[in-house]
Symmetry: C2
Subunit: 364 residues, 2 copies
C-alpha cells in the first residue's frame, strides 16, 4: 500500500430512482438490499481497504447521513468523514475532498468512487484501479474507469476513445475523444454498435494536484468558493467555511463541469464485472433472478398468469402477490407506499418529484 494514495467515497446521494425503497432518511447506499446485512457503502469501503490505507479512505456524505455512515462504517475517523451541508452534485464534493487531501499531502494520488456500485471480480478491480492510479501518477491525466457496454442503456454516460474500435481491446490507458452524458436509447445503440465507446463508471483516478488545476481552469465559479482552504480546512473554522462555500455553490457534476471539457481525459478499461444500481431496472438485471418470462417477483407466494418482464417487490415477504396480464411494469410495495409504473419510464424522476408536494413529507 502506498501512503500517498487516497480514496474518496461519495455517499451523499438521495437515491431517488430507487424510491420508494430508497428513502430520504435512508438512501440506497445505506440499504440492506440482500437481506444479509451488507450495504453498498460497506462493500465499497471494504473493496478499497484492500489496497488503500484505511487512514486515506475518505467518505463524503451529507450532514444528515452522518449517523448512517457511522453505523455502517464504525471504524471511520471523524477527520475522514466530510459532511456536506447541501447536495451540490459531484464537482463541489470532489473539490472539498481534493483540498482536504492536498492539505495532507500535496503529492497525493486519489481514486474517486460512487458508493452504490456492484463489482463482481474484486481482484481484477483492485488491479485495474491500481494501474489507473499509477498511470495518472506518472502522467498528467484525468483517468476514468470505462466499462465495456453490453446493451444500449440510456441511463449511463458514454465515453468515446481515440484509436477506434481496435484500441478498445487493451489493458492499458487510452486517450478519450468525447464524453456524452446519458444519450437516448437510439443514440446509445449507435454508440454500442460502433465499438468505440465505453460506459462511464463514475470511478476516476488522478493526482490531487491535477484535478485541482483542471477544476480551477474549468470550474472557477466553484473553486473560488474554496479560496482560503489552505488555512480553513482542518481548523476549527472548517465547518463554517464549508457551509458558506456550499450555500453559494451551483449544482454541477464533475463529468459535465470538467471531464467533457478537459484536454487530458483518459480511460482505463475495466475487466471486472460492474453494475451501477442507478434504477430499478438495473437492480433487476444485476441482482435478481428472473423467471422464464423475465419476471422478478419477490415474494414467497405468487399467483401469476400472462405476465412478462415485470419487477414486483413487496417488502412484506409474507404477502401473496397475485398478478395477471401485466407487462414490463415495476410494482414496489412498501409499508407506506405502493408504486406501479412502466419499467422503462424516462419520466420516472419527474413523476416521483410529486412527493415534494406539501402533505407528502413522510413519503419522501
Amino acid at each position: 500500500m502506498q501512503n500517498n494514495q487516497y480514496c474518496i467515497i461519495m455517499a451523499g446521494g438521495a437515491g431517488t430512482r430507487l424510491w420508494p425503497i430508497s428513502r430520504n432518511n435512508c438512501p440506497k447506499q445505506f440499504l440492506n438490499l440482500d437481506g444479509e446485512g451488507r450495504t453498498f457503502i460497506r462493500d465499497t469501503y471494504d473493496r478499497f481497504a484492500k489496497f488503500i490505507p484505511k487512514e486515506n479512505i475518505i467518505i463524503v456524505s451529507s450532514a444528515k447521513y452522518r449517523d448512517l455512515v457511522k453505523e455502517k462504517i464504525p471504524e471511520i475517523k471523524d477527520e475522514n468523514l466530510l459532511l456536506e451541508p447541501y447536495s451540490r452534485n459531484t464537482a463541489p464534493c470532489i473539490a472539498y475532498a481534493t483540498y482536504t487531501i492536498l492539505k495532507r499531502d500535496p503529492d497525493a494520488a486519489m481514486v474517486v468512487t460512487p458508493s452504490d456500485h456492484i463489482i463482481t471480480d474484486e481482484d481484477k478491480f483492485a488491479e485495474t484501479v491500481q494501474n489507473a492510479l499509477e498511470y495518472a501518477t506518472a502522467n498528467k491525466v484525468l483517468m476514468t474507469i470505462g466499462v465495456p457496454p453490453t446493451r444500449p442503456d440510456s441511463n449511463f454516460g458514454y465515453i468515446q476513445i481515440t484509436g477506434g474500435k481496435e484500441a478498445c481491446n487493451t489493458d492499458s490507458a487510452i486517450k478519450v475523444k468525447t464524453f456524452t452524458e446519458k444519450p437516448d436509447k437510439e443514440l446509445a445503440k449507435v454508440f454500442v454498435d460502433s465499438g468505440e465507446f465505453f460506459w462511464n463508471s463514475g470511478i476516476f483516478a488522478w493526482k490531487a494536484e491535477t484535478i485541482r488545476e483542471e477544476m480551477e481552469k474549468y470550474l472557477p465559479e466553484v473553486t473560488r468558493l474554496f479560496n482560503g482552504w489552505e488555512t480553513a480546512i482542518g481548523s476549527p473554522a472548517e465547518n463554517e467555511f464549508i457551509s458558506r462555500a456550499y450555500t453559494d455553490c451551483l449544482k454541477i457534476s464533475i463529468d459535465y463541469g470538467v471531464m467533457e471539457k478537459t484536454g487530458i481525459a483518459w480511460l482505463y478499461p475495466a475487466s471486472f464485472g460492474w453494475s451501477d444500481i442507478g434504477a430499478w431496472e438495473s437492480l433487476q438485471e444485476s441482482m435478481m433472478t428472473q423467471d422464464t418470462e423475465k419476471n422478478t417477483i419477490s415474494a414467497d407466494r405468487i399467483l401469476s398468469d400472462g405476465c412478462r418482464g415485470n419487477l414486483i417487490i413487496s417488502k412484506n415477504k409474507d404477502k401473496l402477490i397475485a398478478v395477471k396480464g401485466l407487462e414490463n411494469y415495476m410494482v414496489i410495495d412498501t409499508e407506506d407506499v405502493l408504486l406501479i409504473c412502466p419499467k422503462e419510464d424516462k419520466e420516472f424522476k419527474d413523476f416521483i418529484a410529486g412527493i415534494a408536494m406539501p402533505g407528502y413529507e413522510k413519503y419522501r
Copy 2:
C-alpha cells in the same frame, strides 16, 4: 304485515369475486365496506323487516358463518337461522328453506333474496316486492324481480319477457319468455339493445307450495334428498337429516334448475335503484366516486399520471398510491395480498382458484 309472508335471506356465499378483501372467513355480505359499520346482510335484513314480520325472516347461511350472522343480526332466533353444512348453490338452499316454511304454514308466500345487493329506493323496493308477492299469492307463478338493464354487463343473467319491447314499461307482472345465464358481452349488447330483456336480480317471490311443486318436478334429484322433511325439520334429528341431504346433493342454482325450465316464470319490473355487488367492477360503478379519468383510487395520498379506468384500493388508508401509465386494471392491496389484474377479466375466478393450492390456505 301479513303473517303468512316469509322472507329467505341467502347468506352462504363465499364472495370469491371480491377476493382478496372478501375472504373465506369473512365473505362480502359480512364486510363493513362503507367504513361506518353497516354490512350488506344487516341492510338486507332491515330492508325486509319493514314489511315482513321479523319472526318470518329466515337466514340461510353456512355453518361456518354462524357466529358472523349472530354478530351482524343479534336478534335472529336460532329457529330462523338455517345452517348449511356445505355450499350447494341456491337450489338446495331454497329447498331447505321452503320445507322449513311449509312446516310452519302450508299456505305461506315467500320472497327469496341474496344478501349482498344495494337498493337505493327502499320504499319503492317494498312496494315492488309486496306487489310481486301478492300476484304470486293470487296466481300460480314463480316471480322474479327484473331490473331494467343500463349497460351490456356480462356478469348478470338476462330475462326476456313476452309481449316485446312495449310490454317493458309497465308496473305489473309480465310473463317470461326466456332465461339466459351470463351471456358474453356481445350477446349482452344485443339483449340490451332489443329492449325486451331485464337483468335477473336473483330476488324471487312465490308461494312455498308452488316452488315445492316445481322443484319436485324439475329437480327430483335434489328434492328426494329431503324426503321425510315433514317429521325431520324442527325435530332433534334435523341437523343429521340436513347433513345427510347436503352430503349427497349436487350444486345447482335455482335459475338453471327451475327458472329456465318452468312454464310459470313471471317477472315484476323493479322501479328502485339496484346493484349486485358481484365483482369489483360493479362495486366501483355503484359505490365509488371516480375521477375525470374514471379512476377510483382509494387512498388519502395519491400520485397519478396517465391512468384511466382503474380501481385501486389499499386497505392501509395511510399508504401513498403512486401509479403511472396504467389502464383498466384493478389493484387491491390488503395486509397479506397484493392483487393486480385487468378489470374486465372473464377468467378472474379461474385465476384466483389458484389459492386452492397447498400452502395458500391463509390467503383464501
